[in-house]
């Protein structure tokens, strides 16, 4: 078989409208195993590709000898930096990362050479045979030293600083205020998507290349690849292959240029699949953060001023660090009225693994800190922590830390109340397997204490700071059949379902064809990230469908001599409200109609020198209440229940919404108690699922949805807000808050490790 099996999201779906739990159109291929993920692609003549990576976090490359690798039987190509045809570097914000390292490596795992061969075993032997001479240098691994250390990159070690100053700087310079201070740390989380980085590149007759790859942002990938190949973008054609999860890790390039280089060099299709170990080294991670905070409040709990210093470790290359620190800084104080603030947000370069986008994008880190601060403040004020939050809750009309006035919806108080007031279903089970420690049988009932806490968080939806974001879509209607073309990357979130719901809503059809997602013939849909696709690509699809609707109606109005306003599209027909006309849509569209649109949101502004500006389009808030059981002497934890309320604007698809809220909460639980990429001297110590632990079904509690608050967002298609990120923002903070409640310990760092609880308890026992 010489065909490439492309993604199965192409297909017919039988949707219904907005607000219904319509089934995903790709569910059946996914449950039968027929759905083609990027690692499932095959081509008869294909070769296998592989990557040689630097073992050192910091070194100069003295020499690379590929001769012994080329000599291995079955090897078709061994390429290095000198084989990169076009621009040597790439990057999302700065073009600071080499396609293949030439003279220096800056992180352990940085690609140095690539191989194409006839079998994965041959690839491995060839990689082992490549001789690289490194002159190891001392790595910069402490982010707090980065700004003063010798630059490890020509662009310097400071990736971005934002110093946000808001309101009256002397607001806290008076008597009678209560002040609390704390320093917090968030470890490096990994997206840990299940589908490994993978793809297939096929050299084309026109000298170009067709790349089938799992990604989040096709057109930005295409542009970077074309630059690095020294080619016209039209010659680089990306098609989205099935994506096995993303969560931010596929926004940057990984194997894209490498695969294309190997395919073009060998003249053969080339497939590459990262192992899990390689995957941990092959994509960016969530920025680890150290955060110092000081909150000042009136004795009645009114917040007066927040000061903070945020230090994010960006690792070796910039990726999207600039945007991450902006988010962390803008949302540093949480969804509360803060009339005065001084937030210094810095992201630096080190020889640690590169960090970039991960679901929550800076707000996860600061939420952990600001919620810990709010609880600290509540204790200092002898005030109920929920009352303290309600007292300061932001509401429309309030001004944010950036000076921007909230003109859209933001039901902070409603989210808090509904979550706090939702009855708990948590019981105390007699079953030993349900206690902390699970099958390890370490705890009896009287070894376990229970804790509870609530946390709230918010962040922006969509891109910010004046970024000209857009999404393109095409709607074609012929013989009653609608085809939608949109390059929005489906990564599991369910946009493919939404397309059908929108067309059903607007055009009254019960069937829609989804064109393959590719760069050819359609413009960018932007990134599947920042909780933006329902708004942007949903908006584009809606707009395109509405233009087609208008054209159909105009046509029938003329042919049947009725006013345009009298006509509606419903259930595959064009009908007049007055009842005189009823035309089969297929008949009316025997002559095809189409519309090509580009959707944009209202423009935003950059942040000025003081971090002030109308930089964001929209915001969403969520709250979680966590109930945890702890075995303090062993430090083992079981999350018993999570309850959540979220500000969603409008529920587009209830079952998919629940799926996002439950899944995001699981990632929040993971960061709270078990997930951390352990980096020692710049090297990852736990690049496997054996030791990078994500929650199993025995670790995740049920997630109770207290309320999906629907206050339609002005300007948003269908009034709907993106829902992907908030679930992993306040969940971590709630779980660690509950652990503090159970143990009485400060727990200033996540993930909380068993030793953090057990040894502190032991010390406290000794001290007693």
């Amino acid at each position: 078989m010489s065909e490439v099996r492309a993604t199965q999201t192409r297909g017919r779906t039988r949707p219904s409208g907005i607000g219904e739990s319509v089934r995903r159109p790709d569910a059946i291929p996914k449950v039968t195993g027929a759905f083609a993920f990027s690692s499932d692609l095959r081509h008869d003549r294909m070769l296998w590709g592989g990557t040689l990576r630097s073992p050192h976090p910091s070194a100069r490359i003295s020499s690379i000898d590929v001769g012994p690798a080329v000599a291995v039987t079955g090897v078709h190509a061994v390429l290095t930096h000198s084989d990169v045809p076009g621009r040597a570097t790439f990057g999302l914000e700065h073009l600071d990362q080499s396609v293949l390292a030439g003279d220096v490596v800056r992180y352990a795992g940085e690609p140095v050479a690539i191989v194409a061969a006839d079998h994965p075993d041959t690839v491995r032997r060839a990689l082992d045979a490549i001789q690289v001479e490194y002159e190891v240098t001392e790595p910069l691994v402490d982010p707090s030293r980065a700004e003063t250390a010798t630059p490890i990159h020509p662009d310097g070690n400071l990736i971005r600083r934002i110093h946000l100053r808001h309101g009256d700087p002397s607001a806290a310079d008076r008597e009678g205020l209560v002040t609390v201070e704390g320093t917090y740390e968030v470890g490096m989380q990994d997206q840990a998507f299940l589908g490994p980085e993978s793809g297939l590149a096929i050299p084309a007759a026109d000298g170009g290349v067709d790349l089938f790859v799992a990604t989040q942002w096709l057109h930005v990938d295409r542009d970077q690849v074309a630059d690095c190949l020294g080619m016209d973008p039209d010659l680089v054609r990306l098609t989205l292959a099935g994506v096995g999860g993303a969560f931010g890790a596929r926004e940057d390039l990984s194997l894209h240029v490498h695969l294309c280089m190997l395919a073009l060099h060998t003249g053969r299709p080339v497939k590459m699949v990262y192992s899990r170990h390689e995957s941990f080294h092959g994509h960016v991670h969530r920025h680890p953060a150290r955060m110092w905070y000081r909150h000042h409040a009136e004795p009645d709990g009114t917040l007066v001023r927040v000061e903070a210093r945020l230090l994010l470790d960006g690792g070796a290359y910039a990726s999207s660090s600039g945007a991450v620190i902006a988010n962390a800084t803008c949302f540093a104080a949480g969804p509360y009225r803060v009339p005065s603030a001084d937030i210094d947000g810095v992201v630096v370069r080190t020889n640690n693994p590169p960090c970039g986008a991960m679901r929550g994008f800076g707000a996860v880190q600061t939420c952990m800190a600001h919620e810990a601060q709010m609880d600290r403040l509540a204790t200092a004020l002898d005030m109920d922590p929920i009352d303290l939050r309600l007292k300061n809750a932001l509401a429309p009309g309030d001004r944010l830390l950036t000076g921007q006035v909230l003109t859209g919806t933001l039901p902070v108080a409603e989210v808090i109340r509904t979550c706090a007031e939702h009855p708990s279903a948590a019981v105390r089970s007699d079953e030993p397997m349900t206690r902390p420690g699970g099958a390890g049988r370490t705890a009896d009932a009287d070894h376990v204490v229970r804790g509870e806490a609530l946390a709230v968080g918010f962040k922006n939806l969509m891109f910010s700071e004046g970024f000209d974001d857009s999404s393109a879509a095409r709607c074609e209607l012929r013989d009653g059949v609608v085809t939608i073309t949109c390059a929005c990357a489906e990564v599991g979130q369910g946009f493919v379902t939404l397309i059908g719901q929108i067309t059903s809503e607007v055009l009254g059809v019960d069937e829609v064809v989804l064109a393959p997602v590719e760069t050819t013939g359609i413009g960018s849909a932007g990134s599947t990230s920042a909780s933006r696709q329902s708004w942007m690509s949903g908006g584009a699809v809606q707009k395109a469908c509405e233009e087609v609707r208008a054209a159909v109606v105009a046509r029938v109005a003329v042919t049947h001599d009725v006013p345009v306003d009298d006509l509606v599209l419903v259930e595959g027909r064009v009908e007049s409200l007055s009842g005189s006309v009823s035309v089969d849509l297929a008949e009316a569209t025997a002559e095809p109609l189409s519309a090509d649109v580009v959707y944009r949101h209202a423009p935003t502004s950059p942040l000025d020198h003081d971090g002030q500006g109308d930089a964001h389009v929209s915001f969403a808030v969520s709250a979680h209440r966590a109930i945890v059981d702890v075995d303090p002497d062993l430090g083992l934890v079981r999350v018993v229940e999570l309850t959540t309320s979220q500000d969603v604007g409008r529920v587009l698809n209830p079952v998919q919404a629940v799926g996002q809220l439950e899944g995001g909460a699981a990632q929040g639980v993971g960061l709270a108690v078990m997930e951390e990429v352990l980096v020692d001297g710049g090297r990852i110590r736990n690049a496997s699922f054996t030791d990078y632990l994500v929650p199993t079904a025995l670790d995740m509690p049920p997630v109770e949805i207290a309320a999906l608050i629907e206050q339609p967002e002005p300007g948003a298609p269908f009034g709907a807000k993106g829902i992907g990120e908030p679930p992993c923002i306040s969940s971590t903070a709630a779980v660690v808050g509950a652990l503090r409640h159970a143990t009485g310990l400060e727990l200033a760092r996540v993930p909380v490790r068993p030793a953090d609880i057990a040894l502190a308890e032991a010390q406290a026992g000794v001290d007693r």
Partner: protein
Amino acid sequence: MTMTIALTLDDACAALAADPTATVLAGGTDLMVQVNRGDHSIGNVVAIDRVPELRGWTREGDVLRIGAGMTYADMADPGFGALAPALGQAARTVGSPQIRATGTIGGNLATASPAGDMLPVLVALDAVVELRSSDGERHLPLDEFVVGVKANALSAGELIVAVRVPVLHGHQEFMKVGPRNAMVISVASLALVVDPSGRTVRVGLGSVAPVPLRATEAEVMIGGRIDWEGGRPPTAGDADRFGQLVADAARPIDDHRATAAYRRHVVGVMARRALVRAFGMVGEEAA
């Protein structure tokens, strides 16, 4: 590459005699991880997962003879669990249902990982490992079989056929600490088995030394304190002291999974709790 799928023990031994360097393969749950990574190159293989003599268990008087090919899933059998409760408990903590379906006790022995879940129980039970080659048989006590980190005393051409443990008619506990509620490599583990007729309490420790350890001083101390005749429970003071001695017996290291300090601490906690489960306690509340 020759694949020998042995159907009898003699076949397996003969194949190994013909190529003593051949890889012995039962469940493959340790070996295949290395093969998939490219860290182990497969040559000739002798697959022993279809040898009936290696499956199952038999009771010979007060000795339980466990076939090396017995899987962790097999150990869920209540009849087996009644004879070796701590082994049954330990088996349930290994990996996942998928791993338990094919992983074997023989594999756990051969891999000889410091974190092997069977090993603390086997060392507490003074297990004896039965080895066979075409040259004959030998029996090794566990502490002469597991000789170092991932090091065993197998000679070339030799196979683990069974492990023998005593049937003790007292309480048995197995506990394992890991940072997740399922599918974890043990950070520290403890087996406590009571031998009422021998009037001993035996404690096996895992993941706190290069090899599974006995906490001998703790055993001696508590053995002398237990009221074997009258059944009066130990005191809180006894339990504390016992826990401390067990903790002192541990020789843990710092690694990416946990610190030595944490490992030592939790071993002491588990010891105390296991003792209280076995005997109850008088004095202050069990903590």
